[in-house]
């Protein structure tokens, strides 16, 4: 069984991004939904499936469906952190292929910046968190800092190599009018930023913004009738390994390794075949670990791989061309924005930041503290 070419992405859109003080999580998702359906050439009445996840509400799938006036015949609220929306993409493709729905709407929205909801706390010290919370590790940054520290100790990776990820992201963001941070950023700026949880400093960490997004996934027969070229799902894989960082089997082995190998197997491809990569950059170290896990370089070599502008505009690998969570936006969960940018790149809609080769794109989203990963390979032609 395969999802290959069983579904296509027909529409994508962001809501307002950055600082959106008057908005609610629902207004942002409605905005994005309307724009993504317009992008697809579809209307609300075509939607028969809703997928969402968020840090708001008690039953957010119910709340957002009600607000939009949609009574879906299929719905999924899988929540595995910021990777959730790429899980939704795979699950939507599976549901479409099984005949359970035809037009799926994936949604996200957050007002965490304007409402100052961001916290470094894990919350109540119960269940697994009772064994970590009392020690004062800021979350999630501390978990990624532990991975970065070990990567440096085992592989000799340097803070400057981590900083290359942030600098390249900012160079891409400078080419993206929707990006929140576009001012030039140097390696020295990243190195001199105040420490948060060493070895990670402020500019190794993703932004804190508001924003929302939407993605429309459709059945093949619908995809072929729409005005824009469909973006086909060629390979998909997911994996999760733990919740709390002390339970991660190997802190340098991202679940992206298992998810990616499943996606590549389904697609009949490997990392060297990929034209455009959108890799969740919650922190600079996340990109290094994911590049290694997906086979873009050997384990331990990602520090050297990202150096010398290889992932910056004009470099060998068009990576995080929106500016990523580090410079474009990061409203708490970023996975949906990876899909949005990948689709725009594949359609050739990206203007000055357009990757020269854009026949296929890889999206790899990591959630919580290196806990979950979904990787999807998309392409323009089926």
């Amino acid at each position: 069984m395969t999802l290959r070419n069983g579904a296509a992405i027909a529409g994508v859109a962001e809501s307002r991004l950055g600082v959106v003080p008057g908005a609610t999580v629902l207004t942002l998702q409605a905005e994005a939904a309307h724009a993504a359906l317009a992008d697809a050439g579809l209307t609300k009445s075509d939607v028969d499936a809703v997928f969402c996840a968020g840090r708001w509400g008690r039953t957010n799938l119910l709340e957002v469906s009600e607000y939009l006036g949609i009574q879906p015949q299929f719905a999924d609220g899988t929540n595995v952190g910021g990777a959730s929306f790429v899980y939704h993409l795979g699950h939507a493709a599976a549901a479409i292929q099984a005949g359970l729905c035809k037009v799926a709407l994936i949604l996200y929205g957050s007002t965490q910046r304007s409402r100052q909801e961001r916290s470094l706390s894990v919350g109540d010290h119960k269940l697994a968190f009772q064994y970590e919370g009392p020690f004062g590790l800021p979350s999630p940054v501390g978990g990624y800092a532990l991975a970065a520290a070990r990567h440096m100790a085992v592989h000799g990776t340097t803070r400057a190599q981590l900083a290359e990820v942030a600098v390249a992201a900012r160079q891409w963001a400078a080419l993206n009018p929707a990006a929140y941070k576009r001012a030039p950023l140097s390696l020295d700026d990243v190195l001199a930023a105040p420490p948060v949880s060493e070895p990670l400093h402020r500019l190794d960490c993703c932004l804190v913004t508001d924003g929302g997004g939407a993605v429309v996934v459709v059945a093949p027969d619908i995809a072929r009738t729409l005005p824009k070229p469909p973006i086909w799902i060629r390979g998909y894989g997911e994996a999760l390994t733990h919740m709390v960082i002390s339970q991660m089997p190997d802190i340098l082995q991202s679940p992206a390794a298992a998810a990616g190998s499943r996606a590549f197997l389904m697609a009949g491809m490997q990392a060297s075949d990929i034209d455009v990569a959108q890799i969740y950059d919650s922190f600079t170290i996340t990109v290094l670990l994911t590049l290694e896990a997906l086979g873009f370089c050997r384990p331990g070599h990602a520090g050297a791989f990202v150096a010398d502008g290889r992932i910056a505009p004009g470099g060998e690998l068009a990576l995080n061309t929106s500016g990523g969570g580090l410079s474009y936006c990061h409203p708490g969960m970023f996975g949906i924005f990876l899909i949005i940018e990948a689709v725009r790149q594949l359609r050739g809609e990206c203007g000055p930041r357009q990757a020269p080769r854009h026949g296929n794109a890889l999206v790899s989203a990591t959630g919580a503290v290196l806990s979950s990963n979904a990787t999807c390979i998309l392409e323009r032609t089926s």
């Binding site: 010290h125 532990l146 060493e198």
Partner: protein, 152 residues
Amino acid sequence: MSEHHPEPDEDSRPWWDALARHLLTYQTCTDCNGVVFYPRNRCCHCLSDALQWHQSLGLGTVYSRTLVHRAPDPRMRDQLPYPVALIDLDEGFRMMSRLVGPDANQTPIGARVQVVFGLGPDGRPLPFFEPVDPVAAPDKRGDANGGGHETT
């Protein structure tokens, strides 16, 4: 409001009770011999309920560490910066902890450490780790079923 307190449950109450007596404990499965930590009522390797409690010798190695500059808990702000670490105990389990002692902020990954008991933010005993004196205890390996050893 980030002042949370550990909430012992039926899995963890024996662990917290042992800590109150300055004992660090863990479980093993008598069916599959797997080491289980954090405490559970079923083995996370084979789902057997045949779990036994053991006392750890409290000796281990720093798997990773981070020096924290932003405290999630306001009660910890006056301790900043402080080192949080993952410790691989010799009995085969990994746990989060704090590194303590005069050189705590410089204790590297790979360092041999031993448990010492201190107080958490709510006054509850917690297991912390400090470097093992390399002369007094040259890389002493723990016994996998090391019950009965005093660790304090």
